[in-house]
Amino acid sequence: MNAVVLIDTLLLILVTITAVAIIEVRNLYASVMLTSVYSLLMALVWVNMHSMDVAFTEAAVGGGISTILLIGTLVHTAREERPIKARVHWKALLVTAVTGAALIYGTFDMPRFGDPHAPIHHFRVPEMMAQTVGFANGTKGKQAPPEGFDAREYRSFNGRVADIPDDPTDTAWRETSVLAQDGIIVPKVIGHAAHAPVHDDAGHHPHPADDFNGHVPNSVTSLLAAYRGYDTMFETTVIFTAGISLIMLLRRPRRQGEAQVGAPMVDQAVLRVVTKMSVPFILLFGLYVITHGELGPGGGFQGGVVIACGFILYALIFGRAALYRVLPPPVIDVLTGLGVLLYSGTGAACLLLGGQFLDYSMLNRLSPGDGESLGMTLVEYGVGITVSMVMLNIFNQLAEEQPT
C-alpha cells in the first residue's frame, strides 16, 4: 500500500461524511458552508492523485466562486429549508440503492486503481509523453533529443522495449503488436517528433499522424489549448453564454438618479487595510497563474477565477459602488466578449497565416515551438478574460437588490 492509496482512502471517507452532511443539514447556510469545505477536501483528493490543474480549478471554482454564488442566492431566498415530516424519503432511497447496486456491479470489471496495464495508459498518451520538447531547461520548441534518448524506452512500462521500426512511415506494426506474455494488447506507437522534419521543402510544418500540436511542459495545458482547442473554445463560449443568460434573467434597467445602495464593511479597519494590501497581490497572482499555465499548473480558467475573486473581495469590503468605479458594468460586458474574440481571433490568425484553425505553430514560422507557446498564451488570456469577467458579472447580478 503506497502513500497515494493510503491518503486517498482516508480522504474519501471525510469527503463522504461531508457529502451526507450537506444533504441532511436543515440549515441552508450551513449546507453552503459545508459545500465550500467539500470542495476544499475534493481538491485535496485531486492533489493526491497528481491532478494539479483540476485541484487548482476545484479550489478556485468550487471553494471560491460557487460558495459566493450560493450565498448570493441565499440573500434573495430563505436561509432555512422548510421542515418536512418524513426525514427519510423511502422511494428515493430505493431508487438510489438500486441504481447504486447496478453501478457497483459494474465496478468489478474496472482495472484496479493505478494499474499500469489499464487500457487508458496504453493509448495515445504515452506517445505524447515521448514527444521531444523541453529537454533543455527553460527552452521550448521542437528540438533534437539529447544523445542516447530512445523514445521507445519510455513506453515499455515493464522494462520491455517494443520492437518498433525506426522508419516513421512504417506503420504496419501498429495493427499486429501484441505483448503475448501477458495477453495484453498494447498499441505501440512511435515518438515521431524525434524523426519528423520541422519543415518540409515548401516551408510548411507538416502534421504527423498523431501530432498533439502542443509541446509545452505542462501536458494538461497543451492538451487543453491545442489537442482539444476547439472544445475549449466552445467551452469558453458556454461560459460566455451563461454570463449573457444571467444578464437576461436578473439585470433590470437602472432608473436615472437611482442611488447605489449597499452595505460596505469599510468600518472594519483591519479588514479594510488587509484588503487594500492583498487585492493587488491577488490580481497579480491571477495574471501569473494565467501566464504560467503552460509551464506549471494553472491556466486561463484558474487564473480568471482568481482575478474575479480579487475583484469580489474588493466589492465585499468597499461595496459594489466602489467596484463600479474601477470597472463600470459596460467595461465588464465588453471585456466578456473580448476574451472569446481573442480566442477565436488567434485561431483565425493561424488560418490567415496559412495553417489550420488554431494551428499555433503558424504564428512563428522560424520556430514553430515558440509559435505554439505564443498561441497558447494568447488563448489562455482569452479564456482568463472571459472567465473572470463572466464570474464578476454573475456576482454583480446576484448581489444586486432584487425587486420582491
Binding site: 472594519q268 483591519v270 479588514l271 488587509v274 494590501m277 492583498s278
Partner: protein
C-alpha cells in the same frame, strides 16, 4: 539523517502537536469564544512551524521563497479572518459562556 532533516522532523512534529491540540480544543471547548481562542492561535503557530520545517529540506531557493510567502499570507489572512469572525459574533450579541451562566449559546 542529515542535520536539516532532523530539524525538519522536530519542527513538523511540533507543528502536528500544536495543530492537533487546536483541533481538539475546537471540538471540546464549551462555547464559541473559547473555541476561537484555541483555534485562532494554534492555527497560526502550527502552520508557521510546519512551513518553516519544510523550508529546511527544500533544495531550491524559489520554492523556499514561495513557502515563506505562503506562511506570510497565512500569517496575515488567518488572524484577520479570526478577528472578523469574533467581531461579527460580538456585534450579534453572542454571549460568552461563564460558569454562572452556562447557557451562553443562543
Amino acid at each position: 539523517m542529515l542535520w536539516n532533516e532532523i530539524v525538519t522532523t522536530v519542527l513538523l512534529g511540533l507543528g502536528c502537536v500544536v495543530s492537533l491540540t487546536g483541533a481538539l480544543g475546537l471540538l471540546r471547548m464549551p462555547d464559541f469564544y473559547t473555541r476561537l481562542h484555541t483555534a485562532g492561535k494554534t492555527d497560526s503557530l502550527g502552520q508557521f512551524l510546519i512551513l518553516l520545517g519544510l523550508v529546511f529540506v527544500t533544495p531550491d531557493l524559489l520554492t523556499q521563497i514561495k513557502l515563506v510567502g505562503v506562511a506570510m499570507i497565512l500569517m496575515i489572512a488567518a488572524p484577520t479572518a479570526t478577528h472578523a469572525i469574533t467581531k461579527a459574533a460580538h456585534l450579534n450579541d453572542l454571549r460568552p459562556w461563564t460558569k454562572r451562566d452556562p447557557g451562553g449559546e443562543p
